[in-house]
Amino acid sequence: MEVVRRSSEHGLEGIRAASKNGRRGMSLELDRFLQHLRASLHLDAADAEPVLREINAHLEDRVADLQAQGFDRASAERLAIERFGDVRQVAREMCEAHQRPTWREALLAACPHGLVVLFFALGLSRNFPLLALAFAAITVVTFLFWRRGRPQWIYPWAGYSLFPLLVVLRLAVREVPNGFDSWLDAETSLQTGAETVALAVLFPLSWWAVVRVILEAARRDWLLASLMMLPMAVLSGWLLLLAPYGGYLWASPEDVAQFDPLMARMMLAVAVVVAVFFRFGARLLRFALLCGVALVSLAIINPIAEPGTGPAGLALRAVVLLGLLASPALLLLLLDGGPGSLWPPRGQSSGRAPA
């Protein structure tokens, strides 16, 4: 008998094949339990597959013992699943045991933020060709590793890759008072029909790309998808700072450069937070960390960009910001019925033995 050693996407097929050819076949009950566990585990494919194999072996041993005690197969499986415990708790604890990336991976995750720090610290924020090149390089790295199993550290890189698409979206929408508005004043609005048509075409494509990437990320782990949203939130704050001066494209180099030291410090703080994020275990604490750094950024930027904003306006902006960070989880709630780690996806059992 050969055990199929593949990525976790095929892990269950491998376990089924192994069980089928071994001394016991996998039943529907155990299969459903393992599927639910798999959906709740937010691990890299290489980590999840052996976990599932080990737990399958455990359950088979327990079922065999119960059968030896006189239980029929169906009852033995129900009891084995019940004694195993709540699948969500097990998945959560397993995630916390495994999702402790090394410092190397934490530093890789902080790299794109570090690159942005360099840009601001060296006063290169107005060097559009170099900026475009940097975004292109980040996007290439993201694309390569997104297709190679999506290691956790790639998510901040993906966030920067999505930022230009969000710029396109905002440019096309022409609404919502924030940092993009100043691009659209009477002197700088797009005049040519070709540009308008191009935006009209790019708008749905960009929406599709952004939503698809966020949803794909969220289905793996909504927390990592929230991490992915963080650069967009903080860079939007930078554009808010530039709004009174005509926006990034039309502000003078001096007006843009005046905020470089502030943004360099802010992005350095974000880089440190992202590195620390990867070393924390508790998921809610990690989410709180993301929210904290985003809210601090808002608290620093908003009074500078819009001094007249009252508490209500600031609170509204904070809600929008937190909504942006929580949008992956909210998307899952809307489309899939909920993040797998919080409650079972539609159509799957809770992991407990049926009454």
Binding site: G85, E93, A97
Partner: protein
């Protein structure tokens, strides 16, 4: 993880703190797989300690990530696979340290209880 004695229920926090020590101690005697560990804990504690089975594996994986134990797959003649864990040198040191801590803690509690 928590355990249930025949007549009383030990608090989860109490057992959680000693879980690593128990696992390292058992694995230190001989390499064991997960299900075997559960049975041994139950047998050697005469039924007073029972793991909530699912929470054993996160604990084992955490100990492995920390370098205290090392897992290896073994295939039985009937085709079944099991993952056996054995104690590493680091694990041996960790076990000694945890056992000392536990004994000190137990002695201190006993002193207070005796009055």
């Amino acid at each position: 993880m928590w355990g249930m004695a025949r007549r009383e229920k030990y608090s989860g926090e109490l057992l959680k703190g000693s879980m690593d020590c128990l696992l390292l101690a058992l694995i230190g005697r001989e390499p064991m797989y997960g299900y075997q560990l559960i049975r041994e804990v139950e047998r050697q504690s005469r039924g007073y300690l029972q793991f909530k089975e699912g929470t054993l594996y996160p604990a084992l994986h955490r100990l492995e990530q920390d370098g205290f134990i090392q897992g290896r797959w073994e295939r039985l003649p009937n085709g079944q696979e099991r993952r056996y864990y054995s104690l590493t040198e680091e694990g041996e040191k960790a076990l000694q340290a945890k056992a000392r801590t536990w004994k000190s803690f137990a002695a201190a509690v006993n002193m207070v209880l005796r009055g």
